[in-house]
């Protein structure tokens, strides 16, 4: 099996479709998971983000130096594409839960994260799930670092309150 770097070099050199498909299959599941969490489970928006991310990645792959893992690099592009999509016009799309509302009791943690208010969800996904630091999140989302911390606090508080009302939602419960 070719290493990740070999596949990237081969694709940059040949622009071969089968090589691209190998890269796509290796990395799109993680990219789509991230896009689904950022969009609050909006499948069509997440697919649009992933499609745009691959379009951009193909332009930039020649510049990928392997200083980070390719999956990390690709997820960074997903975040950028999501941010640009979020800045778009008013969408008549499903809304996330507002603070004060309680989701149904039978939801898993993944579903609860998707129901967070948009800004809270974005920061929680990037910080607590993907491991970004606040200064990276601030740069990625175009917000102040203090704002990122505030949204994270709100997101955590909501999740904890929802879980306290139904303690079996995480783990094997």
């Amino acid at each position: 099996m070719e290493s990740e770097q070999q596949l990237v070099r081969e694709f940059v050199a040949t622009r071969d479709e089968q090589v691209f498909r190998a890269l796509y299959r290796a990395h799109t599941p993680r990219m789509l998971s991230l896009a689904m969490r950022l969009t609050g489970g909006n499948q069509s928006s997440a697919e649009d983000v992933v499609q745009e991310a691959w379009s951009r990645a193909c332009q930039l792959l020649a510049q990928f130096r392997g200083e980070s893992r390719l999956s990390t690099w690709l997820c960074g592009i997903v975040v950028n594409c999501y941010r640009e999509q979020r800045r778009g016009p008013v969408c008549l799309a499903p809304e996330a839960a507002e603070e004060g509302s309680s989701p149904p009791a039978n939801l898993e943690l993944e579903d609860l994260v998707r129901r967070l208010p948009a800004r809270c969800r974005e920061v929680l996904v990037l910080h607590d799930i993907e491991g970004y630091r606040h200064y990276e999140i601030a740069e990625a989302l175009g917000i102040a670092e203090g704002t990122s911390k505030h949204h994270l606090f709100r997101a955590r508080r909501l999740l904890v309150s929802w879980l306290e009302s139904a303690p079996r939602r995480i783990g094997n419960g």
């Binding site: 479709e17 796509y24 799109t28 332009q59 008013v90 943690l109 993944e110 799930i129 491991g131």
Partner: protein, 182 residues
């Protein structure tokens, strides 16, 4: 919960574990991505010479520009949608009474889309703002557009969905147009 308080350990670990999770790939997404990239000459199914590449790239640019002139760039659509629903606001349309009423209606349209999505319908929508700018020779029609929905499905699905659109309750019209595949 204190602003600096860490998450409970089990929740912290559960969230960290989510980063290794992978979403199953939707059927057709790979081919759509490849098709999109091939249209922009970013991938090739076979090796070709540099002269052929220049001819191919030039042809691709011409067709891409033609696609823009047809008007597809006016919509933030993905190649995966099949129909647009144009929400027309003619003389019989009852406009929102005030800003609060308008927000309530936007929520109603969103809830309708949410319900469809929970049934497995791929749908996205945009509300259009006020103040149209016209370039060229307009049709002269008096009907305004209030919004657009894009849906995936066949003609029967498009008709069924359009018939339930909240826009109809306010005296508006829903025009169904297929998205041309180029």
């Amino acid at each position: 919960m204190d602003e600096h308080q860490e998450l409970p350990l089990d929740l912290k670990r559960a969230l960290e574990d989510m980063s290794t999770g992978q979403e199953p790939l939707p059927i057709g997404l790979e081919d759509r991505v490849v098709s999109h990239l091939r249209f922009g000459t970013r991938t090739r199914a076979r090796r070709i010479g540099w002269r052929s590449w220049i001819v191919g790239a030039s042809a691709a640019l011409v067709f891409f520009a033609a696609g823009l002139m047809i008007g597809r760039a006016a919509f933030p659509s993905s190649p995966s949608y099949d129909f647009v629903l144009l929400l027309e606001e003619g003389s019989s349309f009852r406009r929102p009474a005030d800003a609060a009423d308008e927000q309530r209606r936007v929520g109603e349209y969103r809830q309708w889309a949410t319900g469809l999505r929970s049934e497995g319908v791929a749908i996205s929508g945009l509300k259009l703002g006020e103040g149209a700018m016209t370039i060229g020779t307009p049709s002269g029609a008096e009907t305004d557009l209030g919004g657009i929905f894009e849906i995936r499905g066949d003609e029967a699905t498009a008709r069924r969905i359009a018939a339930t659109c909240p826009h109809l309750r306010y005296g508006g019209g829903v025009v169904i147009r297929p998205i041309a595949k180029t």
